[in-house]
């Protein structure tokens, strides 16, 4: 039974008072230094108090629930926990129709919804690709890359510049963007991958900022903050497409890209390389002692992740027909990280759900779109505390040898 004790209640009250004090200058007083005006917003104090009070009680309840579940598990030791998605995939009677319906939905999406919706969905699907790419680096290999967006920028600018100067088309630029990003990944990876995890995070963050600053300031090269416009959209055998057809075409291209990504990453994860990546996240020293060259494997992960960012970058430049450095700030990296963390590190389905939720929700809840980054921050913190495995926990593949067909 969940019970709110007097102690919980008192704690919640203390928490509420503390947060009212804490947020007082920032939440209550608003100054306008140019006109010397002060606005007192006392009502905010009430909101803060109420929120902190509720949050404190909910956390206490959650802790009770978790402790009870743990002690239950200890009693029935030996039976390992089965996550909801594992149960889902192990029941074909449910999993198959659900997957088929999902596929059908995405297939007919442009027929059912307006071009505006299709456009938003295309964006969301692009984030699926980005999320899956970052997932290789952060989720599978456990390397926290905070400058992921730099590789996205490399892909986008590769296409934009090639298109502007030499008229290179989308289909030629697509592999080039991927390759360029991979090269940058290796270039950065070589020196920094010897570093410990947290240093790696900072260096990649710094790298992302350097790329951004160069794009902003080196106008002869990148046209500076003004960006590059009139980038060609992806072509289809030289056929002139209407605006709506172009959008739909882009939608299906992105779908194809997502499918390709899922296919490749799924196969990679269950391969020699994928296992080595995952082992690297689990224990570096044991990994080396088992004969895995950690530098090579890390570099592989880094380059793979970067390749996907590069491909997505080319898509992005082609879709918008315009890019500028503002699309490649740290916040973008943080958003992609948030997708991976929310969905579940290492889980493909998780990342897809994460991307759709985080990109579509703010679009449809316009009123809350200002609070989007605030929510992302809060999601990162609370996921780590309450559900570090994400919405969809990663499932380990079971291998069957040719001789032991039956379990």
């Amino acid at each position: 039974m969940n019970v709110i004790t007097i102690k919980n209640f008192r704690n919640a009250l203390v928490t509420a008072l503390w947060f009212m004090f804490l947020t007082f200058p920032i939440m209550v007083i608003k100054v306008n230094t140019t006109e010397n005006l002060i606005v007192w917003r006392w009502h905010n104090l009430l909101y803060v108090g109420a929120t902190a009070f509720t949050a404190s009680l909910l956390t206490a309840l959650y802790r009770q629930y978790r402790d009870r579940k743990r002690s239950q598990q200890q009693q029935e030791e030996g039976t390992s926990r089965v996550s909801w998605n594992e149960r889902f995939f192990n029941t074909p009677a449910i999993a198959r129709p659900v997957c088929a319906l999902g596929a059908l939905f995405f297939l007919v999406f442009p027929l059912l919804f307006s071009t505006y919706q299709v456009n938003i969905m295309t964006t969301a699907l692009m984030y699926v690709v980005l999320g899956l790419g970052l997932n290789i680096v952060v989720g599978v290999a456990g390397l926290l890359n905070l400058g992921y967006v730099a590789f996205y920028a490399v892909g986008a600018y590769t296409y934009a510049l090639l298109n502007m100067h030499y008229g290179v088309g989308f289909w030629v630029a697509l592999p080039l963007g991927g390759i360029m990003a991979a090269l940058f990944g290796i270039l950065l990876g070589f020196p920094v991958l010897r570093l410990r995890g947290d240093y790696l995070a900072i260096v990649t963050l710094g790298f992302g900022e350097i790329i951004l600053l160069v794009l902003k300031n080196w106008s002869e090269f990148s046209q500076g903050p003004g960006g590059i416009s009139n980038i060609s959209r992806p072509g289809l055998f030289n056929i002139q497409l209407s605006m709506e057809a172009t959008l739909n075409y882009q939608y299906y291209l992105t779908i194809a890209m997502v499918l390709l990504t899922i296919f490749v990453i799924n196969r990679l994860q269950n391969s020699r390389i994928g296992r080595a990546l995952f082992a690297l996240r689990e224990d570096e020293i044991a990994c080396q002692a088992m004969g895995i060259d950690k530098t090579t494997i890390k570099l592989t992960a880094f380059a793979l992740g970067a390749t996907w960012a590069g491909l997505a970058g080319v898509f992005f430049a082609a879709k918008n027909a315009y890019i500028n450095p503002d699309s490649f700030t740290f916040l973008e990296s943080a958003m992609i990280l948030c997708i991976v963390v929310l969905g579940g590190m290492g889980s493909i389905l998780g990342v897809i759900i994460g991307a759709l939720v985080l990109i579509l929700l703010p679009e449809y809840l316009r009123a809350f779109s200002d609070y989007r980054m605030l929510a992302f921050g809060a999601i990162l913190v609370s996921m780590m505390i309450f559900r570090p495995q994400g919405i969809v926990a990663n499932i380990r593949q079971s291998y069957r040898s040719s001789k032991d067909g039956a379990p």
Binding site: P25, G197, D198, G206, F207, A334, L374, F376, G377, L380
Partner: protein, 300 residues
């Protein structure tokens, strides 16, 4: 020559500010081995609190010195409170979790605090009131070094000395050193590790608040984003000196401050931040232990 001296002073001023922030990074890293990404935001909140309180007090017509002191105290109190709360909310539940978890939580906290201030206050730059008076007797050297610069240098020196005394000679300081050497052992010999960690965050945040107030008066305007860049740079300074080492953080800050000052003064100011980030990347590659740090060996 005068230009050179101007650059030296500006480098020292920058270095002092970085040092005040870098100390927070280095102390927290020394004790719980975490890069506290939200530390830059604590500094930003310090600056905002000072601005808000100073404006309010100004309107009530308090004399300038009183406004300055009260605003600085408010900044310290609230920054310390934020630092304390951030640790309790976002890091303490994650002790013993995989290394990546607190780091991601810290990044989340940083984004959250930035946007919290942006939404509650303003996304625009706010002019920071002039709190430090410009006495006439400093007029002759004013072109090279302003009163604010001198105040910054003076305050930083005093704070550093106090911090060193605190860590070397008080019980709390001893407990902090013990905890950073071996948390489990410190706990076993009766150090209240939770309290020590909280104190570390409170001290680190207070220093950042002082830095926030000083830099805000120096530059004259602030916005919600100032913590991000300042945070990375101070972190660079901490790493440069050898993360976990307090004298290292100070040394690293001055090296970084002077480097930036000369690079922007003689090369180009457009790439100011690129210099800092490149320096960071280079140190981590060639000397990850920093100038005064020791290379650590992982136990197997």
């Amino acid at each position: 020559m005068e230009y050179f001296l101007e650059l030296v002073f500006s480098g020292l001023t920058r270095g002092s500010i970085y040092a005040l922030i870098a100390l927070g990074y280095t102390m927290v890293y020394g004790i719980i081995g975490l890069i506290n990404f939200a530390h830059g935001e604590i500094y930003m909140i310090g600056a905002f609190t000072a601005l808000i309180i100073a404006t309010v007090l100004n309107m009530y017509g308090l004399p300038l010195p009183a406004v300055l002191i009260l605003a600085a105290i408010a900044a310290i109190v609230w920054s310390a409170a934020y630092g304390f709360t951030v640790e309790r909310v976002a890091y303490r539940p994650l002790r013993g979790a995989p290394r990546l978890s607190p780091l991601i939580s810290a990044i989340g906290m940083s984004i959250f605090l930035q946007n919290y201030v942006m939404l509650a206050q303003t996304p625009n730059f706010l002019p920071f009131p002039t709190l430090i008076p410009e006495p006439a007797f400093l007029e002759p050297i004013a072109s090279m070094v302003g009163t604010t610069d001198l105040t910054i240098l003076l305050v930083t020196t005093v704070v550093m000395v106090l911090l060193t005394l605190l860590i070397k000679f008080t019980r709390t300081g001893k407990a902090m050193r013990a905890t950073s050497q071996d948390r489990t052992m410190a706990f076993l010999v009766g150090v209240n590790v939770d309290t020590v960690i909280s104190i570390t965050f409170v001290i680190g945040s207070s220093l950042a608040a002082i830095g926030g107030v000083l830099i805000a008066s120096h530059i004259g305007q602030i916005n919600f984003y100032i913590g991000f860049i300042a945070g990375i740079k101070a972190f660079t300074a901490a790493v440069l000196g050898g993360i976990g080492s307090i004298p290292g953080a100070v040394l690293g800050s001055f090296v970084l401050g002077l480097t930036e000052s000369f690079a922007t003064g003689y090369v180009s100011s457009a790439y100011e931040d690129v210099f800092a980030f490149s320096l960071l990347v280079l140190i981590l590659i060639f000397r990850p232990a920093g100038l005064l740090g020791k290379a650590s060996i992982e136990k197997v």
